[in-house]
Symmetry: C2
Subunit: 445 residues, 2 copies
């Protein structure tokens, strides 16, 4: 269907294409627009009915949105701003260059402009910056019939009418009533009798990570946002929360791979900013890895007389690093999902200790079989390698298990305690154990 | 509030506690129940009104659910099974031991039992195993007024009434109409005129990863599930999708840290199964790390004459591994979110190449300053270290960038191409470059 529409547009058969397009979902129309040349986007955009055009606009890429705003008339901009939900408008403006923002704000009514400016001031990633104001407000004295009539009158412009909010004259939130409850109730019943007063709400300053946690915990589709005086100021719907969850996970993945987090898409990020986000942690870790260098240097004598010892360093370091990052990953993830709390540190330590005994024994055993019986390495070297391997796995798993919890206690992000940092720590422990055992067994010193 | 309720229960003031509890959200009640002794759970559970009790039950831990099923009477079980949504019942039964499942199924009507058994047969993580059957069905000949009356009659037992489904006599899905649309329409209008026929739907066999992608792409709250004959068989709501997104992310984190994925909570998983999920990959990676060992062994001579070379191996390996895992993480995440497609392999390679030139130059430069000017290492050694470091970073970033895409082309999970595997590959490249350059510069061979 998309292909046919594109072909029709390229052949200049715009009204045929329009018919085809109107059968499609707005998300797919937006995707189709991304494949067109810019002047064709403009033609097709203008051929769409107003409400559909605005919907499509909200799903387009920033680049196409910017192109359209620059290309269309002031009247058309006014229509878009009037029809878009406030949270989408704010999201788009945050990404646009100053001249485009100016063109949009000039064509916005003073009331809406004030609102937009107010929203732009909320801290990034706070409930205030995510919420929208298009909700249905009711009064508790209304009957169900009055409420439904009110909804019919104002509902078209609301983000959701499935949950309605009951406020007093000071805009203080007093209750919630679902459209479902309204439909299922007798039409003479007063809202006061059916509204739910035990309300889960967010404050304008609640951080997005906590917002996502509350949505998940209570299985909600929409949560009201109130200010410090419990006045209703907006609502957050679950579709925004799904984006937040993805964004928070992306940040965790990036931090765990020793990068500064960024929510820009990979292919849209330029080379300099990709390099910038990566180089600082690489530098820090590179310089801390010199500690392991000086450990090796201080054991130069034993290494000189038993050069074969160098051959096992990579295996020892990699296995230690991998063991530690397994534990760290599970604990970081458990903390992020709220499955592990700070007071569980003892349980984690005890669990990791037992797991490390099992894993360490298996790895050291297999390794001994391989290097002593198959590769016929010297017995002392084989013992040194396997005992150090065992100790490294035990230390790696315990360090990997508790460092993220300690980070959280220190109010740092547990995700920074992931493999790269733990590898650096475990490397040092592994090498000291390795050379100390070698020195003891092979008696130089 | 929770603390006060617990205190009242411990003092045996159950009816006071009940009043307190009924003010609370069901999720919080379930959380409170987890803190009680088992016989008090039973007492309080029986004191709650039926509908609330069932809601609370669905939010309790598997352990408490099992205890309750074992403790309560057959009649009580029947009530729970009748009131629970089918998808929740199936989820719970999947986690219970056989004797408990039997006790539940005995107390289930034959119709429902057949349905449950049918649901248990859908493949794990498919739309069929996630969906529920409690949706509202309408006919296209109905007027809005008839539809609303129908909803009022059957709506109480439905998971959602916000979206209703229009089927023909063969249960083929013909359209969707939202409660919002019904409310906003005139009551004499026929459903046929207002229903939406351009429907996004899922097949019973669609995998959960794709389900989540479709929900995100189209910003939907509920999607119908159809069989191969486009007959409506169930619906999936977004609250289940939020759980899927968390689960898929947890699996990716685990795979990227070289573990077999598991969706059990860390603290609830026993030591043996934790060890089992970790040891296989560690073993594979340990054995592949012996390749690097044999590379070192083959350069034993140069190492013997310039022992100081060993001191830089850990730094070189760690920096290479970290550089590669940064690139791999960004690409794996980009693939998972659909921001990077397979045909982007050339763009990724070119981007990583340029990033690696920038990052490699900075790291090698800083390193040269440090080891030549501050540590006063021999010039040839310093050059060897820094040139290999540069080459390692370039190779690591390009390998890290393309391996996940190649994995996807081969229909493997890109997440397994994460740091541990890439580290093992990059280690080998780094060591060969290192010793080859050393040999060339310091002229033994």
């Amino acid at each position: 269907m998309i292909d046919r529409a594109i072909q029709l547009i390229e052949e200049g058969k715009y009204s045929h294409a329009r018919t085809e397009i109107l059968e499609m979902n707005v998300v797919d129309i937006a995707e189709l627009f991304e494949e067109l040349e810019t002047e064709k986007i403009l033609i097709m955009f203008r051929l769409l009915p107003k409400e559909i055009a605005v919907d499509v606009f909200s799903y387009m890429s920033i680049e196409s949105q910017q192109f359209l705003i620059e290309a269309i008339t002031d009247t058309e901009i006014r229509t878009i701003v009037e029809e878009l939900f406030l949270d989408d408008t704010v999201d788009i403006l945050e990404e646009m260059p100053a001249n485009v923002v100016k063109k949009v704000l000039i064509n916005t009514s003073k009331d809406k402009r004030d609102l937009i400016n107010h929203f732009l001031k909320y801290p990034d990633n706070s409930a205030g910056s995510i919420m929208t104001i298009e909700y249905v407000d009711l009064k508790k004295e209304m009957t169900v019939k009055q409420a439904l009539n009110h909804i019919r009158k104002i509902g078209v412009d609301k983000e959701t009418i499935n949950t309605c909010y009951v406020m007093n004259q000071n805009r203080k939130l007093e209750g919630i009533v679902s459209l479902r409850k309204l439909i299922m109730s007798d039409e003479d019943v007063v809202i006061d009798e059916i509204m739910q007063t035990n309300i889960i709400s967010l404050n304008t300053h609640t951080d997005q990570e906590e917002i996502a946690a509350i949505f998940k915990k209570y299985d909600l589709l929409v949560i009201p946002v109130v200010d410090n005086e419990v006045r209703l100021v907006g609502i957050i719907t679950i579709d925004d929360v799904v984006d937040i969850i993805d964004q928070e996970n992306t940040e965790d993945f990036q931090k765990m791979a020793a990068m500064q987090p960024s929510d820009e898409e990979y292919l849209k990020t330029n080379v300099f900013s990709l390099a910038k986000h990566r180089v600082i942690w690489l530098m820090v870790l590179m310089i801390s890895a010199t500690i392991t260098g000086s450990i090796i240097k201080s054991y130069e004598e034993i290494l000189q007389s038993v050069v074969i010892l160098a051959a096992f360093i990579p295996m020892l370091m990699d296995t230690g690093g991998n063991s530690g990052s397994q534990s760290a990953t599970l604990v970081i993830r458990g903390l992020a999902l709220g499955e592990i709390e700070m007071q569980d540190i003892g349980r984690v330590l005890w669990k990791e200790f037992r797991v490390s005994l099992l894993v360490g024994t298996s790895l050291a055993g297999v390794n001994f079989l391989r290097i002593y019986f198959i590769e016929r390495t010297d017995l002392n070297v084989a013992i040194t390698v396997c005992v150090s391997l065992f100790l490294t796995v035990v230390v790696a798993k315990m360090v990997g298990g508790i460092l993220p919890i300690i980070a959280k206690k220190l109010r740092l992000d547990p995700a920074i305690m992931a493999s790269p940092l733990i590898t650096t720590i475990v490397d040092a422990v592994a090498l000291i154990a390795y050379f100390a055992i070698a020195t003891a067994l092979m008696g130089i010193a």
